[in-house]
Symmetry: C2
Subunit: 543 residues, 2 copies
């Protein structure tokens, strides 16, 4: 074991997916997991299998398909990530987690229990002795399935240090191999968090047998600094998400931590397994699938993050680059060519190009993608990689359709009677048509769709942005909605136990933003209907 | 002088405005400056007066109107911020800065010169002795105008410590009262930056007579942590921007630093003059005027930043709040009522409400706002504060019109012939009408506008988001564009000397997003045309 190697534990699919509206389908989770594996993360926390049969199934598919070497190859060519499932500290959760992750070549069970006085008293209603006993039992139970067990003392920052060392020592004795220290509410400063980790490294019995991990939240904008302080104090695993998504202000950003270790190699002198050139691509995929935009001034992955555009190597600028640039856009994968394919490009060229972008399409999907590519190339002068990504992701989002858009006609403007006519193909294959007026073209379109679909929902967010520069660009629309009478569609936070209404994100892309808006709304409604039919009793099934 | 007081130096209007596309009009700058004063910032860096006559004029107006107590009142009732202008280390820049800020009750000149070997050798082409002499001369020249002089040694992080102490000591002798230490390229870690500040506090001759300031950038996601490390090492001024906007990944966020000092009072034990309840409002205003969106997972000001909605005090949640919440939304001003005015509200109610929101409208503007409010209340069930802000800011953006939208009619959909007919009123008062087809309704609308206006431009960004929940919401559109043959519209970065093409942001709000898109595009084109007529030789005028 290399003492200077920092393990990257990505929890985009578990803690990140707890962001409001980030609900992902199993297919989307699988595709993100594949991208995370390509990025080179060491551990993928794929979900919380006890939440519902659907969550368990999503983790299971990732364990099978991403957690094993491709058939015919061995791990020597490409390392296979550990697949981890989260479990509360009880037998049923751990059984569900094992059921989901056991198919992976390297499975891990991650269990947690709060150790702070306030959490033990008010949330758990357990005394400290009971907490220690529960940790011993559940870690041992997890260890009976699996060599690789992670334990987190929740709210570690507000726990009594001596008690924390005791609990962690008992977890190690019971078989925990990774001890993860969360700053659950994003409250600590780098100094404080570094001291907390240093204290654990010094005082926990048997700590030399385990890896210490840190898990920070960004409520005060300090997640990256706290994570780095933890590493400097001896932590060798960091729990992070792509784009820093997660509940509230989110988790630590993978890209910020990795690029600090990369850019400041001499200061940290640590190693990691990430292929930094995959960062930009995974960032875009997660933003598109979750519907959570990235601000232009976001470090590393924001649109303005780099002083100079990729590929520009004007002679006189080299001196300026030394003076004003600490990272090159190429390092995070922003070096892609702008103009890639034209209207005369063939199907083989498209397939090769999509493979370079990381998309493996079957023949049917490639056929559809090619048809849509030709259609786009007729409308738009240049088809860029970003256009292709929007097109493929739009297609992926429409794949689990209940209702699909067959036709749309809209009239709007300052005369004040925006009208939309919508024709949808229903689950029975029949076409239905409705017209509606609204306060604007999107409102009119959504009202017409509502009158066909008949599922009352509330629109929470609506965003459009242009994929590329130029007025003929593809518009990407993301929406977020929840069922109006959504009493049956809820989710329970594994930590707080709070029940929240589930919200559903949708995505659509088209050169016509009203068409894209209709597709995005339909994709969110389709998700809602699919969930509703599968999980009417999900909330009730959780203890 | 209270040794525990941290001065908040806001540079949203100077370093923030250097963000790509954040170009603000003088009227917008003035309104943001008013909001910053209401927020309680100690120093407003209002601009870089030597950049152009227009920049000088914008700083001058802020110095006059925001840098003095309202007529009839004294500073005792409300403190008046210092108004600061940036100047390179030469006589002409300092003269321009003084010309702009001298009208303020408390003027400041901020000058800077690089002190790192790489910058001195390649950018300045000066040897260290020349740099020391230049600092002496220019600080003394600034001091001859003004008691309050700030000096920044650019690229301090890569400067020789001994040379840095020497330069700073000479700046103090020549009259500098604030010494600002920038991490120009966002490269340092909190440990390193804290040590840099501690070294300066210990070794700079005469440092006890000056205030040490810190100015950090967020390229590695560490700006807030570096700024706090500087404070802990003795800095008593922090240079920050609203929403952390600025070049590349931006500057330190005002809201993150202030809310850390607030939330972690016991750990820092420091005072500041900010009214935290103004934070949310200023954040929205800066986002709308600059067109730079705030990510939902942004700390403090993101849409998801708080675990619980404002005003919700369910009985059983109090315990949960103790366990999972470190800040309350009310503290940053998110407690505003949702439903505020209905269609039967009168003009007086609207005026009172707008005053509460911080808008002072003259009778003509109030008349227009009231007409538009009634129109909106007819369309939309509930008119919220966010709707009113969108409406007022839409109105403000259209105020310097060259062309205005008189009529728009759009047909689009899946039949694939999106068509727009646009009628504009030109600067001569005449109406012009054109129709165009495009790849979508926005493209068609923009092509029709282009064919009337005849100013070739390139669209760089296009974003829409819904102001409130619900499908009948107002849509806000922000665009960013630059002149296609924009050789005459450039801006020079004061630090790097790099010449960049100026880009122009536009904003529009309407329940019809195509109408809002037309307004946003026109407002950006109007800005472009206004700048072009005033500043054809701006770049040439700079040294």
């Amino acid at each position: 074991m290399n003492a200077n190697y920092v393990r990257i534990f990505d929890t985009t699919l578990r803690d990140g997916e707890q962001s409001p509206g980030a609900t992902l389908t199993s297919a989307e989770k699988l595709e993100i997991a594949r991208s995370l594996a390509r990025l080179g993360v060491d551990i993928i926390e794929a979900g919380f299998p006890a939440a519902s049969p659907d969550d368990l199934e999503a983790v299971r598919r990732i364990a099978i398909e991403v957690g094993n070497p491709p058939s015919g190859s061995s791990e020597l060519s490409q390392p296979v990530p550990v697949i981890c499932g989260l479990a509360r500290a009880n037998k049923a959760d751990i059984d569900a987690a094992w059921e989901a992750v056991k198919h992976a070549a390297h499975p891990r069970i991650h269990t947690f229990l709060a150790t702070s006085p306030i959490h033990m008293r008010y949330k758990l209603r357990m005394d400290p002795e009971e907490v220690v006993e529960r940790v011993r039992e559940t870690v041992a139970h997890a260890h009976s399935y699996c060599e690789d067990v992670e334990f987190s003392p929740e709210d570690a920052g507000r726990s009594e240090p001596e008690f924390l060392y005791l609990v962690l020592g008992e977890a190690i004795k019971a078989g925990a191999t990774t001890l993860n220290i969360p700053d659950t509410v994003g409250y600590t400063t780098p100094d404080e968090f570094g001291r907390l980790i240093a204290g654990i490294m010094e005082h926990t019995p048997g700590i030399e047998k385990a890896i210490v991990s840190v898990h920070c939240h960004d409520d005060l904008g300090l997640a990256t600094a706290n994570t780095l302080a933890g590493i400097q104090a001896g932590a060798r695993q960091v729990e992070v998400t792509i784009n820093g998504i997660g509940e509230r202000a989110g988790n630590t950003s993978l890209e910020e931590v990795v690029m600090t270790l990369h850019t400041r190699r001499a200061a940290f002198n640590l190693e990691y397994g990430i292929d930094t050139t995959q960062i930009a691509r995974v960032s875009r995929m997660v933003s598109n699938y979750t519907g959570i935009p990235v601000a232009p001034n976001k470090a590393v992955v924001g649109a303005n993050a780099f002083a100079h555009e990729a590929g520009i190597h004007q002679d006189g600028m080299l001196k300026n680059q030394m003076t004003y640039e600490i990272m090159r856009p190429e390092t995070v994968g922003l070096s892609r060519s702008q103009l890639v394919l034209g209207k005369h490009s063939g199907r083989h060229a498209l397939r090769v190009h999509l493979q370079e972008l990381g998309y493996e399409l079957n023949d049917q999907d490639l056929f559809t993608a090619f048809e849509r590519f030709k259609e786009l190339a007729d409308k738009k002068k240049t088809v860029t990689d970003a256009d292709l990504e929007a097109l493929i992701e739009d297609q992926a989002f429409q794949s689990e359709e209940v209702y699909s858009l067959d036709g749309l006609q809209v009239a709007c403007g300052t005369m004040g009677m925006p009208t939309a006519t919508v024709r949808l193909r229903g689950p029975d294959g029949a076409l239905r048509i409705q017209a509606a007026i609204g306060t604007g073209p999107v409102d009119a379109t959504y009202k017409a769709i509502d009158s066909i679909v008949g599922v009352p929902s509330q629109l929470l967010e609506f965003n459009v942005h242009a994929v590329t520069e130029g007025i003929d660009a593809i518009g990407e629309v993301t929406v977020r909605l929840m069922a109006e009478n959504g009493s049956s569609i809820k989710r329970t936070s594994p930590q707080s136990g709070q029940v929240q209404k589930r919200t559903f994100g949708g995505y659509g892309a088209d050169t016509d933003i009203i068409v894209a808006s209709a597709k995005a709304y339909l994709s969110a409604l389709n998700k809602l209907m699919t969930y509703r039919s599968r999980h009417a009793v999900e909330a009730a099934a959780q203890d």
